[in-house]
Symmetry: C2
Amino acid sequence: MTRRITVGAAQLGAIQKSDSRKVAVERMLALMAEGHRRGVELIVFPELALTTFFPRHYAERIEEMDHWFETAMPSNETAPLFEAARRYRMGFHLGYAELTTEADETGTVRPRRFNTAILVNPDGRIILKYRKVHLPGHAEFDPNRRVQHLEKRYFEVGNLGFPVVRSPMGRVEGGINMGLLICNDRRWPEAWRVLGLQSVELVMLGYNTPSINQDAKGWEAHHLRVFHSHLSVQAGCYQNATWGVAVAKAGVEDGAELFGHSIIVNPQGEIVAMADSWEDQLVTYDCDLEMCRLGRTTIFNFAAHRRPEHYQRIVSQVGAVEPPMV
Amino acid sequence: MTRRITVGAAQLGAIQKSDSRKVAVERMLALMAEGHRRGVELIVFPELALTTFFPRHYAERIEEMDHWFETAMPSNETAPLFEAARRYRMGFHLGYAELTTEADETGTVRPRRFNTAILVNPDGRIILKYRKVHLPGHAEFDPNRRVQHLEKRYFEVGNLGFPVVRSPMGRVEGGINMGLLICNDRRWPEAWRVLGLQSVELVMLGYNTPSINQDAKGWEAHHLRVFHSHLSVQAGCYQNATWGVAVAKAGVEDGAELFGHSIIVNPQGEIVAMADSWEDQLVTYDCDLEMCRLGRTTIFNFAAHRRPEHYQRIVSQVGAVEPPMV
């Protein structure tokens, strides 16, 4: 019984503000067809893959942005992706903005907006949904920024935790343990560890990350942006003995540059495939899930080595405190 | 008021089983003298710096190994390090095996053994002590291993948590927030985060890591050993916006090779200095602690971005669980 799966990191080039969902879906369908040609069994699309990265634009009333959100999945526009999944027997991962009407923590039913990712199996069934927990950026218009990053304005913090499911995929009939992160989540080792504690074997994550850190102010060289992204994914994979597929939207979108460099990373933390363009591009790798075993039975055998009694600050504190002077 | 400090990563070459503490201390004193010549204000020695890495040797009775442990610090043998600290106005970090008689969790006073590190200020005063939490290896003789790794036999899990203190050091009169890790701790993002949550600015850690992973069994290329060490330190520094000084014992010790490659890492996760020998070697860097500010006020502003309500598994679970099948 094989434990190998051929995954595709389906990087998307820029999607401009004027591009319709139909255009984006057609580009994704082309990548799925290309994936089929190259034996891909699971294809991973980026965060907010159906539209431009709209949190760079400000709206005083949040409702003015609702046209960027999906109220159904599948919808008329996205149904062809689900049909292609069935036709090719190919699972897919898709990131999108989700507008839903559901109860909040107080029980009030109201419109709620999340930065969401789903995993769809080769039957076209949604088997996993995740809503982004680590929203970067800011909630109010920032006059000091040339480009806004208003994720904290338009999205609520995800309320589904970091779920992992086991499900058959491709040739792996016995199932793969799969989990999702979105963009900025990848920099947070807590998120990776919560997946690792559920025996994750394959983490999929989409991102839209600007090439320029507008907060850097001379303290961070521009070229470190890609390094930081890769460093975080590589460490997350190594320290949790999991495969990772990190897929970008890339290129100059609405005048703002996204850095691309999508990667597939093995449980040793090695980059085994990488996109080298700012365009729609598919990179593939045939992943041996048995590689997860070494880490999780030896150096990262959590049951043998973790010491949660010394980790309490991770949940008892949110922000950092100052240490005592000695 | 400057926030710069010149640190020295004082790698030690092999210390053989037959080498006395006097030999090791003399080598460290030579490195302190060299550090003085090069303006070092804080020098970092490795884990278990006074002896060979004795957990590679088996003893049926733990007490047979007590001659590898320190029962006083300073002692007659280590006092010259404290004297040199005062003479040069140089802080130092030292790792050693600690044998103490103190109460355990049940209140029983008994001999206890820890893998310990201390930080000594330029007055020769111990200002911070840490006892290793993440003990690697095994507790019983393993006939399948050519070289044993018996840390779980000879040491108890550290009982001091991951403390951080603020103290003046070198030119930094207002104090530096300093924390300690030991060897295998560096692979555990929980340990780094607990330090980060105490606003750490400079993490010191010593290590003794074999060049060969005897558990690898064809799943891990030998050259990845150094990569994994560096990856963990770089990610820990970047994700907690701290400087890191990771210092090895290196070379062929008692017939077993330790990989060296000591590094100094900045808060961007960049390696800014690295040892390139398997010998006693001092690498230095003048660290600007103001570099910690960018990360902790923007992308790693913990108070703004962390979501502990979704991190509960980190403390509620020790080992990994299996996910649901869908």
